[in-house]
Amino acid sequence: MQFWIIQGLNSLSLGGLLFLLSSGFSLIFGLMRLANLTHGAFFMLGTYFGATTLRAYSGLNIWVTALGAGLAVAAIGGLFERLVLTRLKTNPLGQVLVTLGMSFIISDACLVLWGGDSIPVPTPQSLQAPTRLMGFVFPTYRLVLVGCAVVAAIALYFLIERTRLGAMIRAGVDDRQMARAVGIPVSRLFTIVFCLGAGIAGAGGVLGGPILSAYPGLDGDMLPLALIVVILGGIGSLLGAFVGSFIIGFIYTFGTALFPELAYIILFLPMIVVIAFRPQGLFGRAGA
């Protein structure tokens, strides 16, 4: 019984992390029609940043670190978007290729800066004591991660559905030409969304540190998961990213625990099923 509870919680916390990772990806794809292959690297940058600062300053608040990392990665993303991506407006394939190139650059830079060994990230002291609930003992941090994802989901929901910025984003997703025609600064919106997506990934990276550790190749492990979540949940759908993240979180965790060698195939099956029967994903719109 303990096994199922622990794995269940691990699934939820992984799902939460995946949401922090893939919500940005889904937003960027939905608005900019760009498959941002740098996204895993943005996440990893956050994890490494968190690893260094949290190990150096043991009293540092993880939330502040996450915010800081988020802003730093958002800035890097913004520079990249302004300097490189905007020049490739007419070359969508080229845009994808440069994000791939950028991911190579970032991951190699991380290798140079932090070396090839895996760096464990300490769980914040205030959250180290386990929680007792219904007679079971849970690692507190994992519970908190789930809470983070929910908070992020609610915040993003409010941003997209209830603010002017969100309305502009939704207009841009629906019909870019029309949005431009009614005066929405689409190009500035792209930069904002790209920064937002990168920033969430970076912050998510910090928060994922205690669970995943920072290691070379983290970007390569996370990116396909983000892809699968978005393919499953539907492009441009926040709800899809949320639901998809938890589905994948469960499948990956239980799959790796029960059939470690076949975990990848088990991950891949729901994606195939969804693609076969509903290519736009569970919540996406047709023709996205």
Partner: protein, 308 residues
């Protein structure tokens, strides 16, 4: 003019082992393998308009099947090669059905996800694939009893296969099927209205490209006598894609030039610079920003301007 250049090139290629040292012969063998792989990818990218980031899957699967059958189960090379290619074709057919549910970026993402899954399998199923250690100590086939262990003999074997591959793929592109493929790339709705079945055309091309990718994979594993999950990785697919795009997709010679450049860069750069991945990334950025149509079209434009 073109004919003279072609004959000179052929003569150069055939006689290379007579005047070059083993290092250069081996380099040439590697370039030929990379060229076949790049040409097969170009069928998809340049002529089919389907950009795939998972093409290394076919190279890797063929290589692994051959490696496993010969080293672990004692199969002969002929049977192993047939089985490897058959396996690669089946996998390409299966992956194609999934990936072709989407086009454009969706297709790209699915090919990427599928090939990452395959890589993950190669990495994790250590009982089968030896995981991160790879499979070493492999042998080269002996067609008609001739040993391919020397640099020169392997090179000539490689050259024969590469010439055949180049010929077949060139005919493919100029055939009626190839013309219909380009038509589907450019105007899929119009092609459907004319009676062509766009999905079937794309799917068959996908399988054919996978087939030649598998051939490249066999040559790869024969040459290296070793296979490792890295050859299935996204980096491997990305290097091939870079070669195709840098050289010029949609031209017959472009991918070959591009593949050669990427290989040379990788070989020389790794001697002087440790950061191959970073260099690769920067080269990607440079090529896409500065030379989006590729080197070969860029150069031929300059040539035409110069000869006026």
């Amino acid at each position: 003019m073109k004919w003279i250049a072609a004959i000179l090139l052929a003569a150069l290629l055939i006689t290379l082992p007579f005047f070059a040292g083993d290092f250069y012969i081996n380099l040439a063998s590697q370039i030929l393998i990379a060229a076949i792989f790049a040409l097969s990818l170009n069928l998809l990218v340049g002529y089919g308009g389907m950009t795939s980031l998972g093409h290394a899957s076919y190279l890797g699967v063929a290589a692994y099947i051959s490696a496993l059958l010969t080293s672990r189960y004692g199969w002969g090379h002929g049977a192993a090669a047939l089985f490897s290619i058959a396996g690669t074709i089946v996998m390409a057919a299966f992956f194609g059905i999934i990936a072709l549910r989407a086009t454009g970026l969706g297709f790209l993402m699915i090919t990427l996800a599928l090939s990452q899954v395959l890589w993950g399998l190669a990495y994790r199923m250590s009982n089968l694939t030896n995981g991160d250690n790879g499979i070493a100590g492999l042998t080269r086939p002996m067609p008609f009893g001739i040993s391919l262990d020397s640099a020169a003999s392997f090179y000539w074997f490689d050259l024969i296969v590469a010439s055949f591959a180049f010929l077949m793929m060139t005919i493919f592109v100029s055939s009626s099927f190839g013309s219909s493929l380009r038509g589907v790339r450019d105007q899929p709705r119009r092609m459907a209205a004319l009676g062509f079945n766009p999905w079937m055309i794309r799917w068959i091309t996908f399988i054919y490209a996978g087939f030649w990718g598998g051939i490249a994979g066999l040559l790869y594993v024969y040459y290296n006598k070793y296979i490792h999950p890295t050859s299935l990785s996204t980096t491997s697919s990305a290097e091939a894609l870079l070669g195709v795009i840098a050289g010029g997709s949609g031209t017959p010679g472009g991918p070959v030039v591009g593949a050669a450049l990427v290989l040379l860069l990788k070989n020389y750069a790794s001697a002087y610079i440790e950061r191959w991945n970073m260099l690769l990334g920067l080269v990607f950025l440079f090529i896409v920003l500065a030379m989006p149509t590729g080197i070969v079209p860029g150069l031929s434009k300059l040539w035409r301007r110069g000869s006026r």
